[in-house]
């Protein structure tokens, strides 16, 4: 709770212009502990609870726990009402400050947020939580976007967004970095949410069994496979499994010894090249090769020594 509150007060302080430009130029207490920032902080906490309740209600339905879903539904409705009230209060407070919420984009976003909030309430009332998740997220996002639209072009008192911004080369580099980052991050997030929201990472009772796992070699062979018989047979099967595992380990030991020669050679080569290049040369490209050599030696020696002897 403390985190969204603190962030909300910081945002609120910026929004009402209590953060002056300069090194520690603002008041350390009243910048953020005054009515408007505290209100925004409370709003942030309410939003967090609101989103959590709606999403958890949807999760409860997926889990099949009706009582839990009902509990979260109540909380979602309550949090929705509280968030709406606080947002309206915030609007009133902000109107009397420097933030201009009545102009085009800001007004539109505020209306979108209000509509989404009402839609979420209606959907939660009728227990349609899947869709309610989307409208709740939209409501909160619209508030944040509305703040940004209303704040621009002013950033701090005496400083516009354009003045605060870094130079073009930095911004370009950042946009490229963000795009590349999102290209990696968004599919990962999709994967994560798919796994969680479809229940793949739930407790085993609700998980669907996956496709046949890679069958590792060296496991118990035939006799142990259909061990639905009496104790003696399963004991024999277990002993066969153990022997099979032992034979498997012996086979791996032989394989390991076969690998030892080439690995040792790779290690020696890597070490010699790496040490020689890094210590005695100065050009960057030789250093790259040197590091590669050291890494080769490291991997080779690790492969030789990481597993217990005979494994």
């Amino acid at each position: 709770m403390l985190t969204p509150f603190a962030l909300g007060t910081a945002v609120g302080a910026i929004a009402v212009g209590r953060v002056p430009v300069g090194n520690a130029a603002g008041n350390q207490v009243t910048s953020w502990l005054s009515p408007a920032p505290v209100l925004v902080g409370a709003l942030a906490v309410a939003f967090s609870g609101y989103l959590a309740a709606v999403f958890l209600a949807a999760d409860s339905v997926r889990y099949g726990d009706a009582a839990l879903a009902a509990g979260f539904r109540r909380r979602a409705l309550l949090a929705g009402v509280v968030s709406g009230a606080l947002a309206l209060a915030g609007l009133l407070v902000m109107r009397s400050s420097v933030l201009d919420l009545a102009k085009g984009a800001a007004l539109a976003l505020v209306c979108v947020s209000g509509a989404a909030g009402l839609a979420t309430l209606a959907l939660c009332w009728s227990s349609r939580f899947g869709l309610a998740r989307l409208t709740a997220a939209l409501a909160v996002a619209a508030v944040v976007a509305g703040w940004a639209a209303a704040q621009a072009p002013r950033f701090l008192p005496g400083m516009t967004v354009a003045q605060a911004a870094a130079g073009m080369s930095t911004l370009t580099a950042l946009v490229i970095a963000v795009c590349c980052g999102l290209a990696v991050l968004v599919p990962s997030l999709v994967l994560l949410f798919t796994l969680f929201l479809r229940g793949r990472l739930d407790t085993p009772e609700t998980a669907r069994p996956g496709e046949a796992a890679v069958a590792p070699p060296g496991e118990a062979a035939g006799p142990g496979a259909s061990a639905a018989g009496p104790t003696a047979r399963t004991a024999a099967a277990d002993r066969a499994a153990r022997d099979g595992a032992a034979q498997g380990r012996a086979a791996q030991g032989r394989a390991a010894r076969d690998r030892a020669g080439p690995l040792g050679a790779a290690a020696a080569l890597g070490l010699a090249a790496g040490a020689g290049l890094l210590v005695f040369t100065d050009a960057p490209w030789t250093h790259v090769l040197g590091v590669a050599g050291l890494l080769l030696a490291a991997v080779a020696v690790f492969a030789l020594t990481a597993t217990p002897p005979g494994d």
Partner: protein, 571 residues
């Protein structure tokens, strides 16, 4: 415009504390995923359940340390802006790109570490292994981006100074075309394996010294000690390369590291001793060695501290002591690594002395790590951007830094206690059946004089029948026939092992079962409503699956015990 910050020293110490707490965790973020994936790869290659258990237990530790690293890393990143706002203001446009990239790397790591740690029984084996690879990649990438910023601070470039601000900024080249950066990064990369490897190895060496000589401990020791022992000798080479870069690009830092007061041709190396402002006294002097090491020429001229006024010099004794501590410990670790590799390649056992050395090597490697960072950070003083901006120019004007410092210290203390408790609890989760040596010719590792273990071993030696069935039960995908077999077995309550054969838990927390905690006397004084049928040691995860069937399990357990008795009697 310099603010007059009374608490500049406290601000520095606050930043140093945050760094010192965060960096060891970063080492685990870099190296640990690789070790965990190695263990899981061995499982996939060999089918040996031990490696799966090892990877699984390690992945829990990895997740816990990652979570703590998130806390300390967030604090650290906020501090960079809160404590040094002028630095952020004037040069954030140059190095900010590094933190942007690191942010994405961090998110990636968080996503996949969650999928990996929670997905053990719930994803197909190969998919689970692949889910771990982004964790390892992100660990490497994140540290690379952060160190690129530190490298820039030591050797700034990629901008033009106009009125004290950075103009004509070239962020990519500022961070990545820095000739000093790569040696610093590779040095940190190997250091991560040293710290992670020796700390882990120390824990298992301790276990071996206490008599827990099972296959699990020996395998875990083998992997972690191999990692540390490979990295430590190679680090000597990388360290030499990094030091030569410092000699070239930060001569004053090198002079402070060596206590070289005046620019000298054919400079000598002084081991130990004390710098009194003019020279190193009471040290061991090796003539011409410094010139030889720094420039590969025993007659080279090494720059001394005298090229800058006293106000621009770092505190020499701090830097010197830290540097020599790092090199000294690093050399010892390299020797230990070579000794271990020799013993391992010759397939000799490890004498107790070596095991004790490994136990000591864990904390010592952290000391070396911090000493190295002290060397480079304090050695850069008084500059926050070398030769461009001073720390005193960058600091905040806020007046209550001591409050922040005190709060931070309290928070870190609490965090340390929490981490200790979490790790101790994770270590206390009993090993599953397959992780202990199976009885028979392979498994007479009964050097175990830990009472509980040997009781378990003896019990298994006569009766264990569930090894094969349990193994199949355990695998993520179970086809219908196996499911039936498993259900039959559960119904029969086949006689099995003695107490404590816990399955490592279905959930992430892996709650130790009441049976095991009871056996160790931990849970005396439980409220009376605790279900006593949980004390049946043969419950395993099947109990957790069929909670509604539990009362009947108690009865079946009694019948099962009868089976065991019959087995033992009948042979």
């Amino acid at each position: 415009m310099d603010v007059n910050q009374h608490y500049l020293f406290e601000a520095r110490q606050m930043q140093a504390l945050s760094l010192a707490v965060h960096i060891p965790l970063v080492c685990f973020g870099i190296a640990f995923p690789v070790l965990v994936l190695f263990a899981e790869w061995r499982y996939l290659r060999t089918g040996d359940q031990l490696y799966r258990t090892l990877a699984r237990r390690w992945s829990r530790i990895m997740l816990a340390l990652f979570a703590v690293g998130v806390v300390t890393g967030t604090i650290l990143s906020f501090e960079l802006g809160l404590l040094w706002p002028v630095w952020m203001q004037d040069f954030g446009n140059v190095f900010g790109l590094g933190f942007t990239l690191e942010g994405f790397s961090f998110f990636l790591e968080a996503i996949f570490i969650g999928i990996y740690a929670y997905g053990w029984d719930r994803l197909p084996a190969r998919a689970h292994f692949l889910a771990g690879i982004p964790v390892a990649v992100a660990g490497v990438a994140g540290s690379l981006f952060v160190i690129s910023v530190n490298g820039w601070m030591n050797h700034p470039s990629g901008f033009t100074l106009v009125d004290g601000r950075a103009a004509d900024v070239r962020p990519w080249s500022a961070l990545f075309a820095n000739p000093m950066f790569w040696s610093e990064y590779v040095h940190m990369y190997f250091a991560a394996y040293i710290v992670c490897g020796f700390l882990l190895a120390g824990a298992y060496a301790w276990a071996l010294l206490r008599g827990r000589r099972g296959r699990y401990e020996r395998t875990a020791l083998g992997i972690s000690l191999a990692a540390g022992s490979v990295a430590a000798p190679l680090q000597v080479i990388v360290g030499d390369w990094a030091a030569r870069d410092v000699a070239t690009y930060q001569p004053v830092k090198l002079a402070a590291m060596e206590g070289l007061a005046t620019t000298t041709r054919g400079a000598a190396e002084h081991l130990l001793g004390w710098y009194n402002g003019h020279a190193v006294v009471w040290g061991v002097e090796i003539p011409r060695l410094l010139s030889l090491l720094a420039f590969h020429n025993p007659d080279a001229t090494v720059t001394g501290l005298d090229i800058v006024p006293l106000a621009d010099q770092p505190p020499v004794n701090v830097v010197r002591f830290a540097f020599q501590a790092m090199v000294g410990i690093g050399t010892l670790l390299a020797l230990l690594g070579l000794v271990y590799l020799y013993l391992r390649l010759r397939k000799r056992g490890l004498p107790r002395l070596v095991l004790w050395a490994v136990v000591a090597a864990g904390p010592l490697s952290v000391v070396a790590l911090i000493a190295g960072w002290i060397t480079t950070e304090v050695g850069r003083q008084p500059w926050i951007v070398y030769d461009v901006m001073r720390v005193s120019q960058a600091v905040t004007g806020a007046s209550d830094i001591p409050v922040g410092y005190g709060t931070l210290s309290a928070v870190y203390l609490a965090l340390a206690v929490i981490v200790f408790l979490i790790l101790r609890r994770l270590a206390g989760i009993p090993l599953p059946a397959e992780a202990i040596d199976p009885p028979g010719p392979q498994g007479s590792q009964a050097g175990a004089n830990d009472g509980l273990r040997s009781r378990r071993l003896h019990a298994r030696r006569d009766g264990g029948v569930h090894g094969a069935g349990r193994r199949r039960l355990r695998r993520g995908a179970v086809d219908a026939a196996h499911r039936r077999a498993a259900a039959d077995r559960r119904a029969r309550r086949a006689p099995g092992a003695g107490p404590g054969q816990a399955r490592d838990g279905a959930g992430l927390g892996g709650q130790p079962r009441l049976a095991d905690l009871r056996a160790r006397g931990v849970l005396d004084g439980l409220p009376g409503r605790v279900r006593l049928d949980h004390l049946d040691p043969r419950g395993a995860a099947a109990d957790r699956r069929d909670r509604d069937h539990l009362p009947r399990c108690g009865l079946r357990a009694a019948r099962g015990r009868g089976h065991l008795a019959a087995n033992l009697a009948g042979g």
